[in-house]
């Protein structure tokens, strides 16, 4: 007799539990492809252990999504009547359906990733495309398989929970989703928040734990068992009695929530924003923009499902190695830099002091460096601060909903992580640093004065 319940061993969650229906999705080609997409792109050139793939991350996100769903829908964990109406904890068939939908959406949330994950997405996909839009298309392509599950699940529900309301709105406008896919109901919004939410999304929980484990950077750890046990759906009553539901925590879980958000800050600043990791991404982008020329329509990554599924890190790595050896190959110079570890070097990074003088200080330095050292010898990479999820509802021991921000001095002090870096070609870094030491103040203040004099885009 064939087995219905299965377990997969995992270094982060010990076991990933799944049933035969879910295993059919795991065994499908879009999921199996993720075995060949590195979770952290070329970060293994800096952290040699960080060679893990999107496949195991996707399994981990599915496992955590199921755990969170079970906690937040438990009747005894519901603290407010408006939330009871939303969850309907005694409608067990409905909950079973949504539990399955949520877990499969969590499993599929990354299937649209390009080779080497985020490294080249913005510049190297056609306009209007991102990996989430590819995710939606691939989930739609699984419609036949999803319909065979017992009970069947709808691809549209999976797609909505996997990419969330913001992107679905965009894709509905583009005609990729039916117009009635939006707006989300509150229930759908909460379930999407379970996967991709800013504060407690299981995508983030899994990648912090997994990336820190593989990179060998302990900062990413936090007590996710305690955190998940204390998660609740709560109204944001701290906003003048608003009833808007959001994921929050019991007061007993507040320290675990603080630890998660601190882990996020440390992992961003130490691993994801590591300057050498970033410059390898830039070199990879330089390589890909040459390699793609003439290969696909518009010299960009393809957006048809079949062509997308045929491309993994393996094909790109083979091309990088080949191009590094052969000076005639497209992208030779960038490939050589990656293979021979001849990367550009950091000469300037965004900082508060300069930003106080000129909010566009990095723009000014970058432009001046290009003038001084020629554009081909200068590179820039940046990532703006994103919402850091420090404000969420907390159910206090005296049975009130209050704001996490008021309760936690730790949350009040966690800075938003961002970076904006300027690099120059190896061999120029000493000269560039000396030049910058001399010219820095003049460059930054000159730009500020120019804008004040009326050349701002008003």
């Amino acid at each position: 007799m064939s087995k219905y319940a299965h377990e997969i061993r995992d270094p982060i969650h010990t076991f990933i539990h799944l049933d035969s229906d879910e295993r059919a999705i795991v065994d499908s080609s879009p999921l199996q492809r993720l075995r060949h997409i590195h979770q952290l792109a070329l970060s293994y050139l800096v952290y040699p252990g960080a060679t893990h793939r999107r496949f195991e991350h996707s399994l981990g996100v599915m496992e955590l999504a199921g755990r969170v769903f079970d906690v937040i829908t438990k009747a005894e964990n519901i603290r407010d009547e408006s939330v009871r109406d939303l969850v309907r904890p005694h409608d067990s068939l409905r909950l079973l359906h949504w539990r399955r939908t949520l877990r499969i959406a969590a499993l599929c949330h990354d299937v649209g990733h390009l080779p080497f994950s985020h490294a080249a997405e913005q510049e190297l996909l056609p306009n209007g495309w991102d990996h989430e839009r590819l995710t939606v298309k691939i989930i739609e392509s699984l419609e036949g398989l999803l319909a065979k599950l017992e009970p069947p699940v709808r691809w549209l529900d999976i797609a909505k929970l996997a990419v969330g309301p913001k992107r679905c709105e965009k894709y509905a406008k583009a005609g990729d989703l039916p117009s009635n896919a939006v707006p989300f109901t509150d229930w759908e919004s909460i379930l999407a928040e379970v996967i991709i939410g800013d504060a407690f999304g299981v995508d983030r929980m899994d990648y912090l734990l997994r990336d820190s484990y593989h990179a060998g950077v302990v900062y990413g750890k936090f007590d996710h068992y305690r955190l998940i046990d204390t998660l609740r759906i709560l109204p944001k009553a701290y906003e003048q009695e608003s009833k808007e539901p959001a994921l929050g925590v019991e007061e007993g879980g507040l320290h675990s929530a603080e630890a998660l958000l601190l882990a996020r800050f440390f992992m961003y600043t130490q691993v994801y924003f590591h300057p050498v990791r970033r410059i390898y991404d830039v070199h990879l982008k330089d390589f890909l923009s040459e390699w793609l020329k003439g290969r696909y329509l518009g010299d960009r990554f393809p957006t048809s499902v079949n062509e997308h599924l045929a491309l993994t890190d393996n094909e790109v790595t083979a091309a990088v190695l080949q191009a590094a050896r052969d000076g005639q190959c497209a992208g030779h110079e960038a490939a050589r830099r990656i293979v021979e570890r001849d990367h550009f070097h950091l000469v300037y990074q965004w900082n508060h002091d300069d930003a106080k003088t000129n909010a566009a200080a990095t723009d000014a330095i970058h432009a001046a460096a290009r003038d001084k050292f020629k554009a081909e010898n200068v590179r820039r990479d940046s990532y703006p601060a994103k919402s850091i999820g420090v404000v969420f509802p907390v159910w206090t021991k005296d049975e009130r909903v209050t704001s996490s921000f008021g309760l936690s001095e730790v949350l009040q002090r966690i800075p938003a992580a961002k970076f904006d870096l300027v690099f120059v070609r190896g061999g120029l870094e000493k000269e560039a640093r000396e030049w910058l030491k001399r010219e820095r103040t003049a460059i930054i203040t000159a730009k500020a004065r120019e804008e004040t004099d009326g050349t701002a885009r008003a």
Binding site: P165, S242, K243, A385, L407, Q412, A416
Partner: protein
């Protein structure tokens, strides 16, 4: 509109809301920015969607986070039981505003229009009014007030048809007033 120019308008909006007594949490800024863009056409370029309790822009949320990281605004706890207020940093915010005198001058009237109508509204009212306006503009464009109120209730059942109708009457009248503001 470029990012810093947009930030200067947001800072001016936050200052005006605070000066008029608004508690000025994230929801206040979200809904006021929505009206600023949608009702009086200040072209800030944020994408708003009809989210759980009204129009919401994830881009604006990210922008506020970026402004906080850049030291342009801070989150301040007025009362530990409530969510934080958004407060501009005097020095950096003033420096930024000083760069865009034309832009701010051009939109000063629009900011005042929105702030005058929203300054004393609690979050629940803001959610209702902004939802009513979003449905009127984006979803049920051709319907009369009753049809739009019904649609608001269908989409957001926590707003009764009566509450939705009242909100629609308010935003219809504001919209009418806004037309005179937009005329050259």
């Amino acid at each position: 509109m470029e990012r810093l120019e947009r930030d200067a308008i947001l800072i001016r909006l936050i200052e005006a809301l605070r000066k008029e007594g608004s508690w000025c949490g994230e929801t206040h800024v979200q809904k006021a920015t929505y009206f600023l863009q949608a009702m009086v056409d200040v072209p800030m370029g944020f994408e708003f969607i009809l989210y759980k309790h009204g129009p919401f822009s994830f881009d604006l949320r990210d922008e506020l986070a970026a402004m906080r990281a850049d030291g342009l605004i801070a989150l301040s706890v007025q009362n530990p039981s409530y969510g934080p207020s958004i407060v501009p940093d005097e020095a950096t915010a003033t420096a930024l505003k000083n760069r865009y005198p034309k832009t701010l001058g051009q939109h000063e009237g629009s900011i005042a229009f929105v702030v005058k109508r929203l300054r004393d509204k609690p979050v629940v009212d803001l959610e209702r009014l902004a939802t009513a306006y979003f449905v009127s503009r984006e979803i049920e464009r051709s319907g009369d007030a009753h049809a739009r109120a019904k649609r608001v209730n269908e989409l957001k059942p926590h707003i009764s048809v009566e509450e939705a109708f009242e909100a629609i009457q308010s935003v219809d009248s504001w919209d009418h007033e806004a037309k005179s503001l937009k005329q050259p």
